[in-house]
C-alpha cells in the first residue's frame, strides 16, 4: 500500500466515431495496455460535428502509457489518419499508481 506515484504519459485522441473499431484494434498492437473512450462532439478545422447522427459524432480516446508508446501511437496516427480524417491529438504528463500496468 501507499505505493509511490510514477510518471507516465496521457495521450488523448479526439476523432470521428467511424474510427473507433479500427483504433481499438490498432492501439494494443502499438503497445498500449488499455484505453478509455467517451462520446464527444466538437468543432475544428473541418467544421462543426454535432453528433446528431452517426456520421457527425466524435469520440475521445485516452491512453495512459510510456513516452515511447505515446510517440509510437502519435506517429502512427499522423501517418495513417491525419490527412484524411478529422483528428486531434495531445499529450500530457500524469502520475499513476501501479505504473507497471501502463
Amino acid at each position: 500500500m501507499n505505493r509511490p506515484l510514477q510518471a507516465r504519459k496521457l495521450l488523448t485522441i479526439v476523432c470521428e466515431a467511424a474510427l473507433e473499431k479500427r483504433l481499438e484494434k490498432e492501439l494494443p498492437q502499438l503497445g498500449a495496455h488499455g484505453y478509455t473512450i467517451s462520446d464527444a462532439r466538437g468543432s475544428g478545422a473541418h467544421g462543426r460535428r454535432d453528433a446528431a447522427w452517426p456520421s457527425s459524432a466524435n469520440i475521445r480516446i485516452e491512453v495512459l502509457c510510456e513516452q515511447s508508446v505515446a510517440e509510437a501511437v502519435a506517429h502512427h496516427l499522423e501517418a495513417h489518419y491525419f490527412s484524411s480524417y478529422q483528428m486531434v491529438i495531445f499529450l500530457s504528463d500524469v502520475q499513476v499508481l501501479r505504473a507497471e500496468k501502463f
Partner: protein
C-alpha cells in the same frame, strides 16, 4: 390526398433546422428508430415473401441487381469527367447513388399504400440486395490499379453492417414466422411503422438542414447531379420493372429504390474504405438534395410515369 403527412414531418425538421431551433433528436433516438425501421421493413418483407416461391425470384433478383449496377458506372464518369471531381470523390458519390436509401423506400411504400397500389412483397429482397453491390463498385472504382486492397475487410464491413444484419435478419424471421406467427409483434412493428417513420423524418429534416452548408461549398454541378441522377436511375428502374412484369406499385417502388441515394450504409463504408473522399460532398448531395427531391417530387413523378407507360406497354 396525394400529400403524405409523414413528409410534413421532414419539412418541419428542415424548417426547425433552418431557423436554428434548439430542437434536437437525441442521437440514441435516431439509432433506436433506425433499428426499428430496418427490422420492421425486414419483417414485413419476410412475411410477404412467404407467399412467393423463392425459385421464381432468382431471375428477377439477378436482373434487378445487374440493372442497378449500371447506376454507379453511369455516375462515375459523369462526376469525374464532367464534374472534374477527384477520383476518390467521384467513386464515393457513385457508390452512394448506386446504393439505396431505406427511408426513401419506406416513404415510397407508404405513398403507394396511400394510393391503393399493391406492391410485390419481394421488393424488400431487392432493397437488401441493392444495398451493397454499388458499395463494392465504388471501392473498386476508387482503388483499381492500387496494390493490395483488403477486400475481406470491406466485405465484412458491409455484410456484417447493421443495416444488412437487421434487414436480412428481419426478413428471415418474418419468413419463418409467417403472417400468423408474427401476430403479436405486428402491433409494434407494423402498426407503429408510419408513426416511427414520421419521427425519423423529423430528424432527417434537421440533419438535412445542417448539411446545406456543405452543399453550398460543393457548387452547382453537384447540386444538378443530385437531381438529374435520380431521374436517370428511376428511368432504369421503370424499364426494368416493366420488363420483369412488375405491377405499377412494384415498378414505382423499384424506380424509387434506384433513384434513392444511401446516406446510412454508404457513408459508413466509404469513410473506412475510401477515406480520401470528402464525406461532406456525398452526404450533402444525397441527404441535402436527393432525399428531399425524391420525397417531395420524385416518388409521385415516378408513380405518374409508371402509370402512363403502363397504359402504353402493359
Amino acid at each position: 390526398m396525394p400529400f403524405e403527412p409523414v413528409i410534413l414531418f421532414f419539412l418541419l425538421g428542415a424548417l426547425a433546422g433552418l431557423i436554428r431551433s434548439d430542437l434536437r433528436i437525441p442521437a440514441v433516438l435516431y439509432e433506436s428508430l433506425s433499428i426499428f425501421l430496418l427490422l420492421a421493413i425486414g419483417l414485413k418483407g419476410g412475411v410477404e415473401l412467404a407467399r412467393y416461391p423463392l425459385a421464381d425470384l432468382v431471375f428477377a433478383a439477378l436482373t434487378v441487381v445487374l440493372a442497378g449496377a449500371l447506376i454507379p458506372f453511369i455516375a462515375y464518369p459523369v462526376l469525374a469527367k464532367m464534374g472534374k471531381l477527384p477520383r476518390a470523390d467521384a467513386a464515393s458519390i457513385a457508390a452512394h447513388y448506386g446504393s439505396v436509401s431505406v427511408v426513401t423506400f419506406a416513404v415510397g411504400s407508404t405513398f403507394l399504400a396511400g394510393q391503393d397500389e399493391t406492391v410485390e412483397g419481394y421488393l424488400t429482397v431487392f432493397l437488401v440486395l441493392l444495398e451493397f453491390p454499388a458499395l463494392m463498385i465504388g471501392i473498386w472504382l476508387a482503388r483499381r490499379g492500387e496494390a493490395g486492397s483488403d477486400w475481406g475487410k470491406v466485405l465484412h464491413e458491409v455484410f456484417a453492417g447493421k443495416s444488412i444484419v437487421l434487414l436480412l435478419g428481419g426478413l428471415i424471421i418474418g419468413w419463418i414466422a409467417g403472417s400468423e406467427g408474427i401476430k403479436p409483434l405486428d402491433k409494434l412493428f407494423f402498426d407503429l411503422f408510419k408513426g416511427m417513420l414520421a419521427i425519423f423524418l423529423l430528424e432527417m429534416g434537421l440533419v438535412a438542414a445542417s448539411r446545406l452548408g456543405d452543399l453550398r461549398r460543393a457548387g452547382w454541378f453537384l447540386a444538378s447531379f443530385a437531381i438529374v441522377m435520380p431521374m436517370v436511375s428511376a428511368a432504369i428502374g421503370i424499364v426494368t420493372g416493366l420488363l420483369l412484369g412488375l405491377s405499377i406499385g412494384g415498378t414505382t417502388l423499384l424506380a424509387t429504390l434506384y433513384a434513392s441515394a444511401s446516406y446510412i450504409a454508404a457513408p459508413a463504408a466509404m469513410r473506412i474504405a475510401v477515406p480520401e473522399a470528402n464525406p461532406g460532398l456525398s452526404i450533402g448531395a444525397a441527404l441535402g438534395i436527393t432525399f428531399p427531391f425524391n420525397l417531395l417530387i420524385g416518388i409521385p413523378a415516378y408513380h405518374w410515369l409508371t402509370k402512363t407507360l403502363y397504359g402504353v406497354f402493359a
